[in-house]
């Protein structure tokens, strides 16, 4: 007996009514936490994620300091109630790996040389999970870093593509992720076309991979615009006042 087979595509539409190349609705709020130096609330469909940034601040323990640049620390954490079956609190192997690849997704854009010997802490909390949490976390973290005033070359945008019922589609939800044939999270600097995270899980032909990557790249551009707009909306007013 196999896992229950579900038909994920009916009459050219996905179960939630989306087309193959359609993102779930996205909502971005900048500056949602009082104490953090920068923060961002990010919704992607039923995913609810908050990112907070502290720093640059003194690095503890000191032997982890880098004399030439800031050290980025990234913690991806799922709330126990964020998933169907309660998740045991604390880091597991999955979140250790996600924290690593997410940090490396953001690392290339942060001007770490400006703050030697310091730490920049990025905390991502997944409050509700519906597949794609690492990408939502990276999107939120990128905005939170900008909101914290950390000098960056650009924002990082992230999305996953996947394969369901033999089709390459954008932005899998949980049902599609559980019953689909593959998942491929991507993060990129949309303006320079630089890919900073790439993972692949499941089985893709060479051609499907290429098509998937193109799809992810174009969706990252869309997300980039939303991130940028959210930051502008939050800060354009105060910038305007400052100039007056």
């Amino acid at each position: 007996m196999m896992k229950e087979e579900i038909q994920l595509i009916k009459e050219g539409k996905r179960l939630d009514g989306r087309g193959f190349e359609e993102l779930r609705p996205i909502k971005i709020e900048v500056g949602v936490l009082k104490r953090a130096d920068g923060s961002c609330y990010f919704e992607l469909g039923n995913n609810k994620v908050i990112a907070a940034v502290y720093g640059p601040r003194e690095m503890h323990p000191r032997h982890f300091q880098d004399a030439k640049m800031a050290v980025i620390k990234y913690r991806y954490n799922m709330a126990p109630f964020s998933v169907d079956d309660r998740k045991r609190p604390g880091p597991d192997r999955r979140s250790v790996e996600i924290s690593k690849v997410s940090r490396e997704a953001l690392d290339p854009v942060i001007l770490k040389e400006y703050y030697p010997k310091t730490a920049i802490d990025v905390y991502v909390e997944v409050l509700q999970s519906d597949a794609g949490t690492r990408t939502a976390g990276i999107n939120a973290a990128s905005v939170a870093l900008a909101a914290a005033g950390i000098p960056m070359k650009d924002l990082v945008s992230s999305v996953a593509v996947g394969k369901i019922d033999g089709e390459v589609v954008l932005d899998l939800n949980a049902a599609e992720d559980n019953h689909g044939e593959g998942d491929m999270p991507v993060a990129m600097v949309a303006r320079t076309n630089t890919i900073t995270m790439l993972q692949l899980d499941g089985r893709f032909s060479h051609e499907e991979f290429e098509r998937g990557l193109k799809l992810a790249v174009s969706a990252c551009r869309t997300i980039y615009e939303l991130q940028r707009t959210a930051l502008l909306e939050r800060y354009s007013e105060s910038v305007g006042e400052g100039e007056a």
Binding site: R94, V101, R103, L200, G202, H206, L213
Partner: protein, 259 residues
Amino acid sequence: MGFEIMEDIRKDYVYDLIESGKRVDGRGFREYREINVERDVIKKAEGSALVKIGETVVLVGVKLEPGEPFSDAPNEGVIMTNAELVPMASPDFEPGPPDENSVELARVVDRGIRGSRTIDLEKLCIEAGEKVWMVFIDIHVLDNDGNLVDAAALGAIASLLNAQIPNEKYGLSGEDTLPIRDTPVAVTTVEIGGNILADPNLYEETAATSKLTVISNADGTLSGMQKSGSGGLKEEEIAEMVKIGIEKAGEIREKYLVT
């Protein structure tokens, strides 16, 4: 501090050499170091392989034990992959709980085997919902001279190919060889100054900011990928890395995994 300066000098050296079209050990950009796979080296393990890529040495052991299946897959065997960066393998490895690098190594190897559905897990069911074979793939890194992923992944599939199911030991009967359907092979490349190098040694790995592991199967499909390192890659670079990945995997499979 002194160590960091040495590291910088070495990075510059690697970088400058590559700019002039050469590698530290004289290899071509797409050339692997010498690979050596010795199977069945640990008699206590159900399957094992000692893999050397140049001076990188990884020992993989596969153990099988009956255990309880997961509730969402009551008729399927279970795969558990673990990696230990043993302190003897490098002055940078420390004893203690697995750090992010060993977790990543294990999860990437695991993903390649899982994604390709290499092991026919339904054939590992002993009693539905009660008892299935648990396949433990343990990666023991003995000497790190770079590119641990490719060595570990090759060791994993080589061990699985010669693993025997210990039916007798547990008073069971049935097929003795593991139901293996595919041969995923990992190929790692790095980007240094716009050049793509296959099978980076430790110096090259340290000098590079981005690394991409591509895991592909006998039919050329992809069953795992992982970019790591704090740099970015252009789409064209990724396309080239994937192409090299599939090509090299074919050569390695032909040479070391054909039974």
